[in-house]
């Protein structure tokens, strides 16, 4: 059945309105002569609506004459009619062909180049090398020799261990794996110095000469583990006499210079301060937002999604403008603007002194915590209210956090005499 229809569509068919006295006879005659009729519908007393193939129209006229019925054509469908309609609109066909060929031609160029996997190397350097090998934006895909590009990049940039160039669509992807270059052992001597003030809790020396003991208070920049190791004899001499008033040997052996390594943990204090007013006024976002997108052509804006009117009296606007790239000093005056409006409201908040104190305490601790960098162990946290003689409508808090922290930091120094 479907096949019948498909064939009818391919060869074209017509809708005919048949008027006559003896329509049954007309149908029987058509059927017996092998004329294929379908979708026969009785419309009025003496009217029939019939579909038939284009090739059957001529014999049908003959039958119509015999049965004294008249035809009128009501619709033509099928490929032959479509073709004749298209013939009248040549420019449309040319446009379609032009569009499709344009799409095809443009899709055979590389328009985007992505570099993935580079961490230390700048992408520009890789792109430059790729351009030298013939892969640049705007080259035809056929002209790009992927193997050549890969080889050249690998040759030119020794930090790369793997290069893979793949082109999918109009996008070329240069995938890169960098070599991990093992850093050379530091040969320059170094001290470990304190980066913060604190009370030394523990000293673990791997290489070097400890300069502080547990319980010492240190200031920033103070040497904790020295990279200068005195000669063993000298050292043992010193260690052997706590009073240290032994006369130094006349022959001084130069000390060893090392790159000190070790961990020095100290108790470090952080301070934070916060104040919270009892009566707070300001502007804040309500959380409602409306987004809108429009195209700006010249000075006219055409909104194509989102609301025309913004229902907020007070709002903050986030605006993102996309422009086509300019060529020389010609630019296309079309912009794609997407805006997001966030509603703002004025607020006025009254707090009780307790509530404000709780808030100020949290804020003070928060501000103290923000000074801490790196992994630490918190020993103690405390926050105190600062009371003034004449209380105003501000609650002030100061917080102290005591943490145990590694305060060591490497600092190189020049070997004397070298």
């Amino acid at each position: 059945m479907f096949l019948f229809r498909l064939i009818s569509f391919m060869f074209g068919y017509v809708n005919i309105l048949v008027r006559g006295e003896n329509l049954e006879k007309f149908l029987n005659m058509a059927a017996s002569r092998g004329i294929y009729l379908w979708d026969i519908r009785r419309i009025g007393e003496n009217e029939l609506f019939v579909k038939t193939r284009l090739s059957a129209v001529k014999p049908l006229r003959h039958i119509g004459r015999k049965t004294k019925s008249r035809f009128s054509f009501r619709g033509r469908e099928g490929i032959p009619f479509v073709i004749s309609r298209i013939r009248k609109r040549k420019s449309l066909v040319i446009g379609v062909v032009f569009f499709l060929s344009g799409l095809y031609v443009l899709s055979s160029f590389v328009w985007f180049i992505d570099v993935t996997g580079n961490r230390r190397l700048p992408a520009e350097r890789i792109l430059e090398t790729a351009a030298e090998a013939g892969l640049r934006v705007g080259t035809a895909k056929l002209m790009v020799d992927q193997e050549k590009v890969e080889n050249l990049i690998r040759e030119r940039i020794p930090e790369i261990s793997y290069v893979g160039v793949s082109i999918s669509g109009t996008r070329a992807t240069i995938e890169i794996a960098e070599k991990t270059i093992i850093q050379k052992e530091k040969l320059q001597p170094a001290h470990i110095v304190a980066k913060k003030a604190g009370l030394v809790k523990e000293v673990l020396v791997l290489v070097g000469n400890p300069a502080v003991r547990e319980g010492d208070t240190v200031v920033p920049g103070q040497i904790l583990i020295s990279g200068i190791i005195p000669h063993p004899e000298e050292q043992s001499g010193e260690a052997g006499s706590p009073d240290g008033n032994q006369v130094a040997p006349p022959l001084t052996i130069p000390p060893a210079y090392v790159h000190a390594r070790g961990v020095v943990r100290a108790r470090v204090w952080y301070e934070g301060y916060a104040e919270v007013p009892l009566l707070e006024e300001g502007v804040r976002e309500t959380g409602n937002s409306v987004s809108r997108a429009c195209i700006k052509i010249g000075s006219r804006e055409i909104i194509f999604s989102g609301r025309r009117d913004i229902p907020f009296t007070d709002c903050r606007i986030e605006r993102e403008v996309k422009k086509p790239p300019a060529w020389r000093n010609l630019s296309i005056p079309v912009e794609l603007i997407s805006e997001k409006y966030y509603e703002l409201e004025k607020y006025r908040e009254m707090r009780s002194r307790d509530e404000a104190a709780r808030l100020a305490r949290l804020k003070a601790l928060e501000s103290a915590r923000s000074g801490i960098g790196g992994p630490v162990r918190v020993i103690e946290e405390q926050a105190r209210e600062i009371t003034l003689k004449n209380p105003d409508n501000l609650v002030r808090f100061r917080a102290y956090i005591e943490v145990l922290e590694d305060i060591g930091m490497e600092k190189t120094f020049e070997r004397p005499g070298s």
Partner: protein
């Protein structure tokens, strides 16, 4: 007349005996009804009446009268008719 009846009976017995479908041997119409939506009549002898409510089809010895609503003839071939619409009744009219 007697001779014709005899011939008919003989054909029927033959078709029963040999298990040949009787619509082939006896030239009877084969009517297929799909719900109340579609009606196929094979081996017809032409349309006697066609309106949107009533269709009568000649099938040789008698007529098949179909009544319903919005009846359309989906297609007509020399030996097959397909009828569509809401079929209400089907009668054999002698």
């Amino acid at each position: 007349m007697a001779w014709r009846d005899f011939k008919k009976r003989f054909k029927r017995q033959m078709s029963d005996m040999l298990e040949i479908p009787s619509d082939i041997i006896m030239d009877l119409p084969k009517i297929v009804l799909v719900g109340d939506l579609q009606l196929f009549i094979e081996n017809h002898r032409g349309i006697v009446e066609y309106t949107a409510e009533n269709v009568r089809v000649n099938v040789g010895d008698y007529e098949v009268a179909v009544s319903g609503e919005e009846l359309i003839l989906r297609n007509i071939l020399p030996d097959e008719i397909c009828l569509e619409g809401r079929i209400k009744s089907l009668q054999f009219v002698r």
